[in-house]
């Protein structure tokens, strides 16, 4: 029996006084896509979807929901992978995709003010047209910035620039009771009390609802060069990564990829990858202000790679050369998904000098358990994406093998002093593992924080730290 109020026509009538009925979807009007996210199998329809356009509307909805104990689930583009945007307690889903305006580019403070529904790809293009750079670069470019902030997404450039949290100067949020609050500001430094803004970042919509963000920008590096480095084996490729990091070269990205995943992506995109001579690759990207400057950086790295057995280093120094490589990299998730009947993922992060241990462990695991497992990821920052594929396994067998594989991988990540999630978040489905990774005290504090922000537990209930 749910602890939440079951919505009825009266609720709809009242909410329709806060926002246009045209922007409300009620029960049968709700499209199937609102019942799930990108990956998790969990399906649950909210009773009502509110397509909001302002913080005021969010405020009114939350105040009403809080008073009436109606669950509220936030949703951006629905590209999450852990069920954070699935309305498990039904109630209201607030869809931010109409709040997709870029509000201000402040060239004096190097900030960009945006609404939460702006898509990452549009945000990047916009700032780059103005000579600025917003470095966080998650694979999913059609995600919203609100979603990225809520999971503290990282992406490919974390190795040099850091993650979303490092690029958020301020947030406007709506609290569970409808209060609109600004956290942080257009300020570079801030030692003024507890950092509530950073608490909201990565909280997956459980503490407050983000309605505006002020992001930090940096000047756009004038050029970049990617190196695609073929290795005879994945082990050789991966073992080279700590040496690259140790060499003090600062690539913006160090990704690893295997031939079989590249083949999936070729099939998915209908386009050939520019190289096919190896089973494993590292993909590095360097940026700087001139090609000469970048070439100087990578000469040492090239030597390290060749010493470790790299077949060659292939240079993607123009847009038409780097696009096919990075497009392929960007399509991996969808490509793997298209190659099987169902899959589940692990997004663990381990210390950077243990990446090779983890990847080799996963390789051994697929032989041992007898299930297809594909992986790729951010070798440079220790964040790996591992996908367990169902193929034609029966439901029972799938559950059995998938759970076994998951448990073994999380166990290994713990042993290597890693964490459950590098960037996809905990959401609904990773909660049991979070419990195993964090001390009970940490979880207690998290629940305490949640209670202070949201005493009635209406904001994205049942997520992050609330599983029994």
């Amino acid at each position: 029996m749910s602890n939440y109020k079951q919505m009825d026509e009266q609720d709809l009538k009242i909410i329709a006084t806060f926002l246009d009925r045209e922007r409300i979807l009620w029960r049968d009007e709700i499209n199937e896509e609102y019942s799930h996210d990108e990956l998790t199998v969990e399906r649950s329809y909210p009773d009502l979807v509110a397509r909001v356009v302002s913080a005021q509307e969010v405020s009114k909805i939350l105040a009403y929901a809080n008073e009436n104990k109606i669950a509220v689930t936030p949703r951006g583009a629905g590209t999450g992978l852990v069920g954070a945007s699935v309305a498990v307690e039904k109630g209201i889903m607030i869809d931010t995709t109409l709040m997709n305006h870029i509000l201000e580019l402040d060239e004096e403070n190097l900030t960009l003010t945006v609404e939460p529904g702006v898509l990452i790809m549009n945000l990047r293009t916009y700032v780059e047209e103005h000579g600025f750079f917003y470095p966080p670069d998650p694979g999913e470019k059609s995600a919203t910035i609100g979603g990225n902030i809520s999971t503290n997404a990282g992406g490919m450039t974390a190795v040099k620039y850091g993650v979303t949290r490092d690029f958020v100067r301020a947030l406007e949020v709506v609290l569970a009771d409808g209060t609109i609050l600004e956290l942080g500001g257009k300020i570079v430094k801030n030692s003024s009390g507890y950092d509530l803004k950073n608490m909201i970042i990565g909280s997956e919509g459980t503490l407050a609802f983000i309605t505006k963000a002020i992001l930090r920008l940096i000047p756009l590096p004038k050029c970049n060069i990617s190196l695609l480095i073929p290795f005879p084996t994945l082990a050789q490729a991966i073992r080279t990564v700590p040496l690259i990091i140790k060499s003090k070269a600062v690539p913006t990205a160090i990704e690893f990829m295997e031939r079989e995943v590249i083949l999936d992506a070729e099939e998915y995109l209908g386009k050939k990858f520019p190289d096919n001579q190896a089973d494993a690759y590292l993909l590095l990207k360097f940026d700087g202000n001139s090609k000469e400057e970048i070439t100087n950086y990578y000469d040492d790295v090239a030597q390290i790679c060749l010493d470790q057995g790299a077949i060659d280093l292939l240079i993607a120094d123009t847009e038409e050369r780097s696009n096919p490589v990075w497009k392929t990299r960007g399509a991996f998730l969808e490509a793997i998904k298209g190659n099987t009947t169902m899959m589940d993922e692990v997004d663990v992060v381990v210390p950077r000098n243990r990446v090779n241990d983890f990847v080799e462990f996963v390789h051994g695991l697929r032989e041992e358990i007898g299930i297809r497992i594909k992986s790729f990821g951010h070798a440079g920052d220790g964040n790996l994406h591992v996908y367990i594929l169902r193929d034609d396994l029966s439901e029972d067998k799938w559950q059995e093998l998938m759970n076994l594989a998951m448990n073994r991988m999380y166990e290994k990540a713990r042993e290597l002093k890693g964490q459950v999630s590098g960037e996809h978040g905990i959401g609904l489905v990773k909660q049991p593992y979070l419990k195993e990774f964090l001390p009970a005290t940490s979880l207690e504090i998290m629940r305490g924080v949640k209670k202070v922000f949201d005493p009635n537990n209406i904001l994205n209930p049942g997520k992050v730290c609330y599983a029994p």
């Binding site: 190289d275 001139s290 060749l306 280093l313 240079i315 120094d317």
Partner: protein, 263 residues
Amino acid sequence: MEILVCIKQVPGSNKVEVDPVTGVLKRNSADAKMNPYDLFALETGLRLREKYGGNLSVLTMGPPQAATIIYEAFAMGADKGALITDRKFGGSDVLATSYTLSQGIRNFGAFDIIICGLQTTDGDTAQVGPEVSEMLGVPCVCNVRAIDKVEDNHIIVDMEMSEDIERLKVPFPCLITVQKDIYEPRLPSYKKQKATANREISRYSLNNMTDKNEKHYGLDGSPTCVQRIFPPISNKIQEKWTDSSENLSQRIYDALKKIKFTA
């Protein structure tokens, strides 16, 4: 098989500014690259060489710094390179460029097949390839979308026409221009780049040409008279429609049909 690929250095970005007074393109030599279409020509040549043996040479015409793209071609696997460079060749139009290239090719060697990209990203005429073939007196096939095979003394290719594809058997020596996406171009190799960094390239000026008549080259040899160069007007006309989903979908369909985006 002796293969020649003609390549060109073009501005690195398509956002090239035009000087509003002189109408001249503001070229920034630091931001230059190989014409993207030529990457497909080079890849086609490399695959032919890999399959049938022989040598692959590249030829370009341009200022001295255009040598950069010859070394880039070496890093992709080309064996030999030649640069046609002389101030007297500056300001060449399509005709003078084709003539200069044909003169340079005669100097450079005898080739079974000359491969050009479909067009360049700066000139966009797609005429230099066919004109070079005319001046060399060899057959030419444009818009080649696939190479079937090489047999005896000819090559079999698929040429894309507006409504059909023609399979042609072309005797050597010949010239083909290949379409974008005929193959995915390989990336330059770091190892090859290091190994070929000091490779000699041939350089030809007017003095090396069989025809030394200055009037046939550069501005003098260019009958084209450019009246004005201006950046294209970019159109961003937006309309906002408000209507029911059904009516809107019909309107979108009608609009797409009108501009022939759908049947």
